[in-house]
Symmetry: C2
Subunit: 184 residues, 2 copies
DNA sequence: TAGAGTTTCATTGTGCGCAACTATTCTGCA
DNA sequence: TGCAGAATAGTTGCGCACAATGAAACTCTA
């Protein structure tokens, strides 16, 4: 009949089955029309903003990556870190952070998780003990091949011409650089 | 001499000032060269990926927004929700989620925070008690004017031609749509 | 009209992103 | 040489994203 563990209960419970057919809010009807086809005007509110277009596209892209990365036991930021390490084994936290624009507040726990997963080894640099160097383990290195197919699939899912993709990447690079400057 | 609360201590402490000049890891030397000037090839690893370009640009854009929104006491997703409510007061959680591609796991606590800040009121729909409708308070409505200047500033910081921005937005829209389809 | 299935929203848990802060090590200069 | 300040990582805390799950309300059909 009822479980012992109750996770939540509705704050407001039914006000007598809504037999007051007043339709207190005229928007209710109009909302129905928006059910399957969200009105163009509403989308446009957001689509007018470049920032939302970026936010939205970025999440959609990582969502396409997610199932592939999940098979490798990785999240997208973890995958980015490995991409760097595959080319520059032994990079420090600062170097990784510079490439990814992430600080130690994000990277430190992320690297600990990669270490716990057996993909990297962290060790203090011998000649500068402030530096924490990140080295691939054999498992981490082996993952490289399995991950090789990942970026390909996004390009296919993108539904854009190859030239269009190149142009997009170029525009985004310049945009990102300009924004980093603007953020002082 | 010492505080009572110790937040953390280095896992590995100095190995006797590195007097063991063995250089246990031959890679240490090679790392030095990468110290100050991240090699071009490394940047290219990431820049080859559209997904990283999106991820990067998106974070840079919200970073430019952040100080402006901070003055309004808002985060970027909260600002997006208000953008919608300013045009469609009384929208339900599902409707907001559809526009923003966010689920209730994200929106429910976000809306509670907006409510706690006195910007919105949440109330169950009378004619369908599953629906939770979100209404602006006077404060929430008043914020609209103060927020009007926000998007303008990003366009300036972007450092792109107006036409280029339009094209970018268009490309991103098509990309996002295609990716949503690809994600099944 | 009963009840199976759907819709809507909430909660829990995990991991990222970022600000604020702390600890440790190194550097440069007086 | 010693010490002030910089550089490097780590921690804490908060707010998103998102998966998995649960509860309540509604719908549709036999």
């Amino acid at each position: 009949m009822h479980n012992c563990i109750v996770h939540y209960v509705r704050e407001v419970t039914r006000n007598s089955k809504a037999q007051n057919a007043v339709a207190a809010n005229p928007k209710a009807a109009q909302d129905e029309t928006a059910q399957d086809a969200p009105r163009v005007s509403d989308r446009q509110i957001l689509q007018r903003q470049v920032c939302f277009a970026l936010y939205s596209a970025s999440r959609a892209a990582t969502a396409v990556y997610r199932p592939m990365l999940q098979e490798l036991g990785l999240t997208y930021p973890q995958y980015l870190v490995l991409l760097l390490l595959w080319e520059r084994d032994g990079a420090s936290v600062r170097e990784l952070g510079e490439e990814l624009a992430l600080d130690s507040g994000t990277l430190s726990p992320l690297l600990k998780r990669l270490e716990a997963a057996g993909l990297v080894r962290r060790q203090r640099s011998v000649d500068d003990e402030r530096r924490m160097q990140v080295h691939l383990t054999d498992d981490g290195d082996a993952l490289r091949e399995r991950a090789a197919a990942v970026p390909q699939q996004l390009a296919e899912a993108a539904g854009l011409e190859s030239g269009e993709l190149d142009q997009l990447r170029g525009t985004l690079s310049r945009l990102t650089a300009a924004l980093h400057v603007a953020a002082l």
